[in-house]
Each structure stands twice: as C-alpha cells, then as structure tokens.
Symmetry: C2
Subunit: 461 residues, 2 copies
Amino acid sequence: MTYTKLNSTHLDRLGAMVAPDRISTGVSNLELHARDESHHEACLPEAVIWPEQKDEVAEIVRYANEHRIPVTGWGSGSSLEGNPIPVCGGVVLNFNLMNRILEIREEDFQADVEPGVIYQDLNDKLRHKGLFFPPDPGARATLGGMIANNASGTRTVRYGSTRHNVLRLQLVTADGEIVRIGTRSSKTSSGLDLINLFVGSEGILGLVVEATVRLVGLPAAFSAAVASLPTVEACSRAVFQIMRAGLNPAALELMSPECIDVMNRERDLGLPVSPTLFMEFHGTAEGHLADVLSMAQELCEEEGGTAFRSGLGRDERDRLFRARHELSEMIRREHPDRTHSTADVAVPISAYPDIIAWSRQALEEAGIPGYIFSHAGDGNVHLVFMGKTGDAGEWKEIGRIYDRLVDRSLASGGTATGEHGVGLGKRKYMEAEHGASLAWMRRIKDLFDPNRILNPGKLIP
Amino acid sequence: MTYTKLNSTHLDRLGAMVAPDRISTGVSNLELHARDESHHEACLPEAVIWPEQKDEVAEIVRYANEHRIPVTGWGSGSSLEGNPIPVCGGVVLNFNLMNRILEIREEDFQADVEPGVIYQDLNDKLRHKGLFFPPDPGARATLGGMIANNASGTRTVRYGSTRHNVLRLQLVTADGEIVRIGTRSSKTSSGLDLINLFVGSEGILGLVVEATVRLVGLPAAFSAAVASLPTVEACSRAVFQIMRAGLNPAALELMSPECIDVMNRERDLGLPVSPTLFMEFHGTAEGHLADVLSMAQELCEEEGGTAFRSGLGRDERDRLFRARHELSEMIRREHPDRTHSTADVAVPISAYPDIIAWSRQALEEAGIPGYIFSHAGDGNVHLVFMGKTGDAGEWKEIGRIYDRLVDRSLASGGTATGEHGVGLGKRKYMEAEHGASLAWMRRIKDLFDPNRILNPGKLIP
C-alpha cells in the first residue's frame, strides 16, 4: 500500500474542517503522538487533529480516504503494544476534546459517552449515583481506546471485558459515513452482531465517535483480603481452587515477590515480601461475604499460605489496589537505564499453574530483571522484563522467552494477548493463534477499509 | 438469485458423500423439515441429509456451493420465526446424528460439543458434575440451533444469552472449508472477534460443526418465589424495582392471568388467577438469599402485591418452571382451531412498564385470544395471539398490532427481536432497527457466502 504524504493543500483542506487551533504539524505535538507506553519504536504522524464533533471526524475520514491518507485514532496513548503508533504517517485524530458524558440513565444502568471520556472521570461522576463502569484497565484510558482494544483489568474476572459492557456504538467508517450499531435493550437476537466486531478492532475498521455503555451497581458490600504464600506456584494453585470453588471474586491478582518489594518501597505497604494474592469479593451484605472469605482463606492455607489478612477497610483496599495499578510505572522507575516489555498471555484456568511455573523458571534463568503479575482469576499472565536499553543480546533473549511463552499458551488452548491487543507487537503470533480464520479477518478488514487508511500496519500481519 | 434444482446426478453425488441411509427425498422426511414451530408457511426442501462427521458437511457444502444448491442447517426445528424453513428448496442438513458430547473439562468449566447435542441432554450429563450450561430456551433445542439463533431463556437475566457462553467454534464456510475460531481462554483481545459474528447469524454465514461452550457451577443455594399482583402493570413496575435494586435474579418471569389460568388447568398449580411473577435467586448459601427474597417481597408489596409465596422446594420450583416452559404448547392446545403468533420485543428496563401496559391494552382491545408472558428481568416481552386459522382479517389485525409494538420498542431504544431471531418473520423490521448498518450486514453476508447458498432468504431483507 502506498499512501499520500500530506502537502500544504491537504493541510489547508483538513484545517478548514476544524478550527485552526485544532490541527497541528508542530514537532512537539507530533512527538506526543508518536509512541504509546510500549517499547515499540516511535513514529511521527504528519499532522494531529483534535475533532470536537462526529461530523468533523466523518468529513476528515472521507477526505483522507479519497486521498489515501492514513488516519489513526488516539485516546490517551496508554496502550502497550504500539496499537496507535502511526507507522505509516498520515493524520492522528486525538479524541481528547470529544470527552462529553452525554447522558447517564441510572434507571437503565447505561451511559452515553464520547470516545475521549477518561474512564476514571466517568466513574467519578457515577460514584454518587451508586453505579460504576466496571472494566478497570488501570491507566487513565479513554473510553474510545478501551473499546478499540477491548480493554480489561482487575474487575474483569467478575464483570467482563469492555466488550461485555458496550451496547451501542456510533462509528465513522472509512468512507466517512456515520453508522449506528447495537441496541439499548440488554438482550437482542436481531441481525448480525456488529458491536463485537468493532470492539477490539483497534481502529482498523472504523472510528468510534459515541458509545452506550452498560453500568453496574456499586456493590452494597465488599471485602478485600491479602494472602501470602510460599511460592508463586502455590499462589497459582490457590487461584485455580478459588475459581473452581465458584467464589466469584471481583478481583484476584497475583504478584511475584519482586513486585511486592517494589510496592513496599514506593508505598510503604509493609507486606511480607512473598508471592502474594490480592482479592476482593462483592455482595449484597457484609455478612454474606464472611463465608466466602473464610473459604478463600482455607484454600490458601491448603496451599501453604502463611498469612491471610482480611477485613480490610475501603481505604486500605484502595491503597493496595492503587499500588497494584501503578505497579508497571513503579517497576519502570526502578530501572532508569532499562526498557520494559510486557507479555500478556491468557490460558484456561486449569493451565494457569503450569504457565505460572514456567514463567517463574524463565524469570530465574534469564538473568534479566523480571516481574510476574497477573489478573490471576482470568488466567491472564503478565511477565515483565526490564531489558537494558540498546542491548541487542538481552532483547533477543527476551523475544525468545516471549515466543516460547506464547507457544505454551497456545498449546494449552490460550491466547497470545489477554488484554493488550495485537497492535504491532503481537502480529507475528496471529497466524499461529488463528490459522485459517486470519484470512477472514483480513477479508473483513478489506471490506470495511479497502484503501487501508485506518490505523494501517496493525492487528493483521 | 437463481438456484439449481436437484437432479439425480446431484443426488447420486451427494449420496456418495454419506451412507445411503443418510440422505432422503421421501415426502415424509421432506415434510418433517418444511416448517418450524412458527406460523410461517411450510416449504419443502428437495433432500434431507444427516451428516455424521464435519468432513462430510464440508464436502456437501463445497459441492452445493459449486452447483448453487441452497443448504440450510437443521437442529430440532423448535425456532419461532421460520429460521430454518428451506424457502429456496435445496438441501437441509439435519445435525441430529452429530450429537456427541466430545469432552467435558470440569476444571475449566467448558465442554466441547457437536451441533446436534440437545441442551437438556447436555445439562443432564453435567448435573452430577455440579455444572450446567445456562441458556435455557425451554424447547428441546440443539446446541447448533441455539448458537445460530443466539438463544436465550429464563436464566439469561443472570447468565447471559448463548452468545455469552460460547468460546470456540468450528465452522464450515460456504466454500466448504473448516475454520476454527475463538480461544479456550476466558479472556482475549486477539484479533477481530469472529465468534460473536457467527453466534446469532442463523446459518447464513457458515454452519457450526463443533463448539466449545462455557459452563457455570450449579448454585450452592437457590430460592424461588411466586408473587401475585393486582395488574400486569403493577407486575412490570415491581420487575423494574427488583432490577434497579440489583437483586440479580436468576430468573424473573411475568405472566398475565390468562397464562396462569391455562397453567392451573393443565398442571393443577392452584395459583391465584392474577398477574404473576415467578422469580429465582442463586447464591452461595441459603441464608444469604433470605435477605434478597425479603427485599423482593417488599418491592412487590409496594406495588400492591397480594400474595408472595417463597421458600419453594426444588420440586415445587421445578414444577412451576416446567409449566412456564411448556406454556406455549399449553396455549396452543387451548385453541385447536387457531394458530399462534408470538411477538418478541425487548426494551431497556425503564421502558418495560410502558411496553407491558401497551401490550395489555392491545390484548384487551383486539378481541382475539391473547396472552402476555415475559422474560421480565431482561425487558423481553412475548405477546401471543391465537389467530383463527385462515381468517385473513384477524391475521391482518395481529400484524398491525405487532408492527405498532415493534415501533414502540424501537422508539424506546429496544429491539424487534429479543431471542427468537429474525428468520422470515422479522426481516421487515430490520431496516427500521438497523438503518445504515443493515448494508454492512448485507456486505458481510456477501463476503462469506457470495453465491448465497447458506439458508437463503433469512435474516437480511
């Protein structure tokens, strides 16, 4: 595919579609849209535009399609696989000004939002209504980015991924048309499901300009606990037993001792430096959760658990989970001369102890600073290596470990990417994971975007 | 589209792909595959084939595609919108011999099944393992049919539709290729989501030849209750309050007095002939559910509830829900000279009281025997009229009422079909519900099945 480089005529025309202060070719602006939070190489777009209205998005995309100019959507740039890096140049559409919460319908547990809304801001607004939007990716992600990546997080084990919490979308397709899909009914069997085709499509089929999301009532009761176990393998077996027992945690996170050490030092948590589980349960009354907690404690003790601290108050719980959410940044601060790279496989829960044991061994053998943390209840493992910046040998070794980790995940029926999406980094695994169905993904891409202007170079190898 | 009529050469070739006793052109077999349980007109296929292996399906479809012969999948024929009626003739593939439960992986809450497995048979097998497959369409549906229709039922309000319980599929596409999609991981953000595109596609994109479904642990505790209220409108408001309070019922069914009357007579239930709610709650311990039940009772009493019977044992609960599941058949038996027609709209829960009030009024004004029953917690309403067979005037009136009901549902953000699919009967509403996105559904159909041999005439107008 060859794309048109932006010239001054293009820039004039695009500039006329928005206010002059909402288009930029300034280097500092281009640099702010050249990389996400991954280790993938930066690549400058040719222009950044901040649309305010969906009609502007439609007009820009229509023009870009006619002129074969790449268009890549941008939320907060917090993705981890290079998903929005404009590798073919062109225009980046930054949705930060389309950040209106258009309507909250408490009685239907629904909200209409623009793509630039930050999910934490939405939840701040929902809290005093007793509601929340459950996908919890940690970073200050935008709703548009979460939808594009089918983002997940600590709450997914109970409340699902972003995909399970989207009812309607308005999209701008490559031909510049605004298309509405989905229904406000919580249940439908009407026609082909386009919602799920677009959720997780990483902006290669169209751009989300409005969404109706499903909300959940804040639980009347919650309880949180921290368990220390002798080994990460023992943690992983406790996780399997907790899930098998149907305890339905609202969060179940595993951290290797290296993670706890960093969190203790940065946040003074005072946790034993052991393999650790954070867990949380939601219910209708405090009393009900006591039984669940004591079952969880029993299962941890059967695996040799040495400490189980439950009955954490909301402040203590928030302090722990905030530290967990900021763990990636803490790890990066620990190693200023190194660059992080995060594996993100997910496996059926019966294969979880094995993949954790393998990861632990890889970490020990590698001789590279490494960390394991995991949305354990989902079988989703993050193995993080801090590779020396510029050390080709170390990076080659990290790549080799990740390839083997993905092989192992796929062999157990798992996936190469649990929640970070494909972006640039996972394209090489798509053939192995999807086989013949990858050809169908490619055909669908070509159907929606025959000129391949939408986020080119991503998702499909 | 013009299709090839089957001649003796075609039949010989198709017959050679399976054993001779697994293809039939006998009239009685053709008649058994000419209609589902709807009022839609019967239409004979030209041949019925019973495949035993996925390779046979692939070979048959490949041949049919080359020769432009329609192919329609068949499960148990229990659908309600004419979904598998072979309106363009051709071959019906009856999957009843592909009914093996291939593997049950208790530890992962998953099962691999062939499309001809009856969901009740699967649940019978799962029960002693403490598991169940939650979508509960009532009829003796096959898994393949449930997947094709994205079937739902009484349990959907808590456990989701079929779509939420499918992880992997093996499909035969129109070109006769066997394609594997999805992952056994409960979480993934890998590539475009093809699973949800196929679930609910009514066999127009491909034929399911194997599925991995998600199972759920049987609840440690359950409680069921029956509430009588003065009007269906009062019932609908109680439903809204129960859902808004987050009581998370495992079933919440509304029945008009006409339904209760029929059920009492057929099953000697002894219920007050009033508007009635059946409800069920699942939890981890009996004690926990007592609070939930007393909240539900309070909400019903605030709407004037006159009787609330809780603490039903499992036998009593099964007796009530079995009667509820067989309600459609009972209604049909009541009116031997009439034919049933079932509306199936679903709306956001805040619009539920209004759509119920409207339905009640329509029922009273029509002067045609009619019944309202509803998967109320989902906002899914069935308005059933028993129209005099052959009475064009009465059927015209029923059609007019349904059109208005769908208009009203769509205006409130709802859908024309909550769980019965589009089939033949709902095609006329697709334009109004989906607008411009219908064109994308059509393009996707043409991409997967350019010769339109797969279940032609369905879903897309």
